[in-house]
């Protein structure tokens, strides 16, 4: 009789703290570098950044001037030639055809109308690269979508796309969910966005846009966000027993059992030789039998 196997308690994971835990110790290659920033496009953040940048520039300029003054005083005291006065740095002008689209104040009537209808449920509205974005509170998603679809002056009949992004570095939320709406009759596009924390179940858009069915299933499959009142909340692209959610930033890009030596990068054949030696030590002959 064999002894009953004692259930082993897995070691406490260090990073990251998601719902799924990867055993990085078993495969160090699967270690991932998590992003440090939260690249969530937003007018507020942009403005804050601009202000901060201006302040930083100003501070730098002040410091340069102060440095110059001290250097000048020092030079005068030592009787040397005075250093050159500092020049205020101007932003470098690139000679190229790029014109970075920054977030702008919302001027489109659709956004204003939506803001008027939803009131304080709207967190933010802005335009960027000619696209309209309306960020609403996560509880008000259903209401916002219904207004977009039914309101006579909005009439966004079609849900073109629905997807999400993972922001592991963010404090008060983990995902942004975007709904790309298209108005076929008015030839307009609108993006409705919500920010959801880990574990929050947003309402499904299936009752408003039946086409959201597979899109939300894909979002669940890839990011692990479950939707409330969804008719069939199962995985769609990955197998049903798949572990983890691939499009989260903590999901490694190296698969289980992927070979440690990438032979494509082994130009000199050194690694190949080492691999064959190692295999030889294990009693495996990898060499092709050669005729005499």
């Amino acid at each position: 009789m064999s002894e009953p196997i004692e259930p082993q308690t897995p070691a406490e994971p260090e990073v990251p703290t998601g719902p799924y835990v990867y055993d990085y110790a078993a495969s160090p290659q699967r270690q991932v570098v998590l992003p440090k920033t939260v690249p969530l496009p937003s007018l507020k953040t942009y403005r804050a950044e601009v202000v901060a940048q201006q302040a930083a520039d100003e501070a730098k300029w002040q410091k340069m001037q102060a440095d110059y003054e001290t250097a000048k005083a020092k030079a005068e005291a030592e009787g040397k030639e005075a250093p050159k006065p500092p020049v205020k740095p101007v932003p470098r002008k690139d000679d190229n055809d790029m014109k970075t689209p920054w977030p702008q104040e919302a001027k489109a009537p659709d956004l204003l109308r939506l803001q008027e209808l939803l009131g304080d449920k709207v967190e933010e509205v802005f335009e960027q690269a000619g696209e309209l974005t309306c960020q609403v509170r996560k509880e008000a998603l259903h209401e916002a979508l219904r207004l977009c679809r039914d309101d006579a002056s909005l009439k966004y009949e079609m849900l073109a796309d629905q997807t999400g992004t993972h922001y592991p570095a963010a404090k008060d939320f983990a995902f942004s969910l975007v709904y790309q709406l298209t108005s076929i009759s008015r030839r307009k596009r609108l993006r409705v966005r919500i920010l959801v924390p880990e574990g929050f179940e947003p309402e499904s858009a299936c009752s408003l846009y039946p086409g959201a069915n597979w899109m939300e299933r894909e979002t669940y499959d890839m990011l692990g966000i479950r939707f409330k009142d969804h008719p069939d909340m199962t995985r769609i692209l990955c197998p049903e027993d798949w572990e983890g959610y691939p499009l989260r930033k903590e999901y490694p890009t190296v698969g289980w059992g992927q070979r440690d030596i990438d032979l494509r990068e082994d130009r000199g054949g050194v690694l190949m030789r080492i691999a064959m030696e190692k295999a030889g030590q294990m009693g495996i002959n990898l060499k092709q039998p050669q005729a005499d």
Partner: protein, 366 residues
């Protein structure tokens, strides 16, 4: 003594007419479909995850592998999406060449659709006729970028090279024969009694359902909705082109067949306009060697042969790779219509419905 039993069969993943590795779980009562459940994901390669780890230039290579019969359309969507993210202005000549190649690709894709759709319904000859013309188009692609199927035709900011010498002449030669070739297909199919019997009134889906389900492309236009992204949100040089949006009110398989054929004629027109009005000038915008994005998100969509192909990018500050990339694949969304189209109809109609949706599994599964 007698009992009625439903049979469950798996159409696919290995089946001659599921256009790849689509699996459709069918519950049959005799030959009548009681329930139809499409099951996808057999070709999932994680293109979105891969593209998050590739630079903006490298990612385009992966778009070829999605809708592999219309790779140039995918390239166009990627290139224009990234250009929108960075705010790059593309030279006019490059936009014309892009338009021309994309329309040629639309022809190639529609030819392949006609071939496989007709073959599914049993008309074998059309298959080989359309492949004859598709071969010509693939040769043109090869002359332009060296690849026939996985083209990676464009670069961010324009084109890598101008058209090779003699390309316009060859394209014109194709233009001259193509309409006659289309006559050939129509002679075989359009008024064929059996073809009409198999397609008229089959796999209907009306305009309301189409819009609710997010279905775009020829399927939506065959339901009478003149929604074409080339007209509604024009990109490349489509705003300068003169063409029509063919629509039909019937919303059945035959209407989709007619709409796609009419679309091929319109594509022919657009190519001719591109050839005639090709402007001179540079083909590449001035952009830095390494693109570093700002915090921004864009959703850019183009009219791919199958429908609305959208790219969603999120850029991070100073990032050389997209922070997040998502593809709105037309086949993925259109596939949802299958159950609605075939439930209550016969097994042979499932095949016709899959054919008329014109799905490519590389794009559905990504």
């Amino acid at each position: 003594m007698f009992k009625n039993e439903e049979m469950e069969i798996n159409l696919g993943p290995q089946h001659p007419s599921t256009h790849g590795v689509l699996r459709v779980k069918l519950r049959l009562d005799g030959e009548t479909v009681v329930k139809c459940t499409p099951i996808i994901g057999y070709l999932h390669r994680g293109v979105e995850k891969i593209c998050e780890n590739k630079t903006f230039f490298q990612g385009q290579v992966w778009t070829d592998r999605m809708d592999y019969v219309a790779a140039i359309s995918n390239n166009l969507g990627w290139a224009e999406g990234v250009e929108k993210l960075f705010g790059i202005e593309v030279p006019r000549r490059a936009r014309y060449i892009r338009t021309m190649l994309t329309e040629m690709n639309r022809l190639a894709s529609h030819l392949l659709w006609l071939a496989t759709h007709a073959l599914d319904i049993g008309a074998m000859t059309v298959f080989l006729y359309t492949f004859r013309e598709r071969e010509y188009l693939l040769d043109l692609f090869e002359a332009f970028c060296g690849a026939r199927l996985t083209t990676t035709a464009f670069r961010i900011g324009g084109l890598r090279e101008d058209l090779p010498p003699g390309f316009i002449k060859q394209a014109q030669a194709f233009q001259d024969i193509f309409l006659d070739c289309m006559e050939e297909y129509e002679t075989l199919l359009s008024e064929n009694r059996i073809w009409k019997k198999r397609t008229v009134g089959v796999a209907k889906i009306n305009a309301e359902d189409c819009i609710a389900l997010g279905i775009t492309g020829p399927v939506l236009r065959a339901a009478g909705v003149p929604y074409d992204i080339r007209k509604a949100f024009p990109s490349a040089a489509y705003a300068e082109m003169d063409f029509e949006i063919p629509t039909r009110p019937e919303a059945d398989t035959y209407a989709r067949y007619l709409v796609r054929l009419a679309e091929m004629r319109q594509s022919h027109r657009i190519i001719q306009q591109c050839i005639d009005g090709l402007p001179e000038g540079p083909v590449m915008a001035k952009i830095p060697k390494i693109l570093k994005s700002e915090v921004n998100e864009v959703y850019h969509s183009i009219e791919a042969p199958k429908g609305e192909l959208g790219y969603y990018f999120v850029g991070e500050k100073g990032g050389t790779t997209p922070y997040r990339m998502h593809v709105r694949a037309p086949s993925f969304v259109n596939m949802q219509a299958l159950s609605k189209m075939v439930e209550g109809r016969l097994l042979a109609d499932v095949i016709a419905a899959i054919g008329t949706l014109d799905v490519v599994l590389g794009e559905i599964d990504r």
